[in-house]
Each structure stands twice: as structure tokens, then as C-alpha cells.
Symmetry: C2
Subunit: 146 residues, 2 copies
């Protein structure tokens, strides 16, 4: 039994982001890949939609310039023949400020002949927004009554 495409892609993505080593990930991306990270695009330019391998490699480089991944814990996972979805809790450092950020991410991935053909990522942007505005949101919000 061969290894699921998710594990190979996940390892290569981790290396690309943390070591700026892109040779492993490049052959694991389909030429016509459809890629979206849902989140506040005007705040983080590497969010949003990308189409095609070149655009996706470029956005992975942008992420690598901004972020170092310390650890991630996979909380839920589903694996299909050429598909995978999971929910992760990630610990990152934002390189511009050297501040730690913890966030939760859900992804839905599809593969074609072992190469990533589609990726949809949802990021809980709460902590990222706090990071971007530079102070905690908590005390500044009026809670919706119970």
C-alpha cells in the first residue's frame, strides 16, 4: 500500500515553509491546481484564490517569508482515495514581529495522480486579526447577550 498523497504533500509543505526548500513540493502540485485560503485578504496578501502551479508556488514562498510553523496537531481527519480533509491546531511565529500565533485551520484537498489539484483552507482568523491590529479584541467587544 502506498502512502496517502496528503502525508507526502503535508511534509513537503512544512519543509517549504520552514526551510524554504521548494524542490520537494514542486512535483506534488498539479499544473492546473485550484487553491484558496479563505480569510481577510486585505490584511494578509497570501490569503485568497490562486490558479495554476506557478501562482501556488509563489504564494507558498510568500507564506514562507512571513511565517514559521512550530507544531501542528491534527484534531480531525478524513481520508478518501484521492481526497483528504482535516482540522489542525497550529503554532506559528509571525516573522515580522517575532510573535507567536496559535490558530485553527480546516482544509479540503483533492489530488490527481498524487498531485494536489484542489485545496480549500478555512482559517479561524481571530488570533490573526488580533496580531494585525496589535492588541487583543476581547476586552474591546460588546458580547452578544446569552
Amino acid at each position: 500500500m502506498t502512502e496517502h498523497s496528503l502525508w507526502r504533500f503535508s511534509r513537503a509543505l512544512h519543509r517549504a515553509i520552514n526551510e524554504r526548500q521548494f524542490t520537494e513540493i514542486e512535483p506534488l502540485i498539479d499544473e492546473d491546481v485550484d487553491w484558496t485560503i479563505h480569510g481577510p485578504v486585505d490584511l494578509f496578501p497570501f490569503f485568497g484564490a490562486r490558479r495554476g502551479k506557478a501562482a501556488v508556488l509563489e504564494v507558498i514562498r510568500q507564506i514562507a517569508d512571513k511565517v514559521r510553523v512550530h507544531r501542528f496537531d491534527r484534531e480531525s481527519i478524513m481520508l478518501g482515495v484521492e481526497a483528504a480533509s482535516s482540522m489542525l491546531r497550529c503554532s506559528l511565529t509571525m516573522l515580522d514581529t517575532n510573535k507567536p500565533v496559535r490558530l485553527r485551520v480546516a482544509h479540503f484537498a483533492q489530488f490527481r495522480e498524487g498531485r494536489l489539484s484542489s485545496l480549500r483552507i478555512l482559517v479561524d482568523s481571530y488570533e490573526l486579526i488580533e496580531h494585525a491590529i496589535g492588541f487583543p479584541l476581547r476586552g474591546r467587544m460588546i458580547p452578544v447577550s446569552a
Copy 2:
């Protein structure tokens, strides 16, 4: 072939929230269900973890008090034997202010004998935070440089 548990649960949840009709959903929840909506708990009391059917029915009632669901589009989905994950784009109205909110949600569900035994939901809280603080975050944030 019987219908996947997800469809039955999803319909019942929709009716529970919009029509406050809980008789359909009650038998579809496992006594020992493990339920979490990840998001800013101090802002929305119906976020967070719940354990057991009574606590989950109570939180569904709280959601029904606050929210009306207009439509949802399922953007990604994976179905397993007793598991399902999907990503949805939802259009809601917050009943306290009568304001529309659009948000994206990812969920991972597990079923035991057709009953929901585990649910993990990730909400992109961006629009919800804007709703809670009462003004758009966009213009007020310093973007992270490209």
C-alpha cells in the same frame, strides 16, 4: 441504500434553528455526544464545548434564539461510513439586530448507529467579530506588508 446520517442530521438541525422544532433532531443525537464550535466564546456564548445530549440540545436552542439561517452552499464535502466533513458558506440573520451575516464554516462529524456522536465546527469569525463590535474591521487594521 439508506440515506447518509449527515443529510438527516443537517435537515433536522436546519429545522431546529429556523422553526424551533426540536422533535426531529432529538433522536439523532447520541447521549454521550462530544460537541465543539471553535470560535470566540466570550463573544458568542453558544460557541465552545458541550458534552452530552441535554447540553447540546440546550446550545441548539440558544443558537435558534439568536440566528436565522437563510441559505447555505456546500462548497466541499467528504462522506465516510459513519463520518462526514464539509465546508459551507452560510447566509444568516442575527435576530437581535436583524442584520445579515455571511460566514464560512467547516465541520467534522462522526455518527454512531446514525446518531451524532462527535461534532467539531470551525467558524471563520471575521464577519461575526465585525457584527459584534458594530463596525467594519477592514479600514482599521494595518495590513501585514506583502
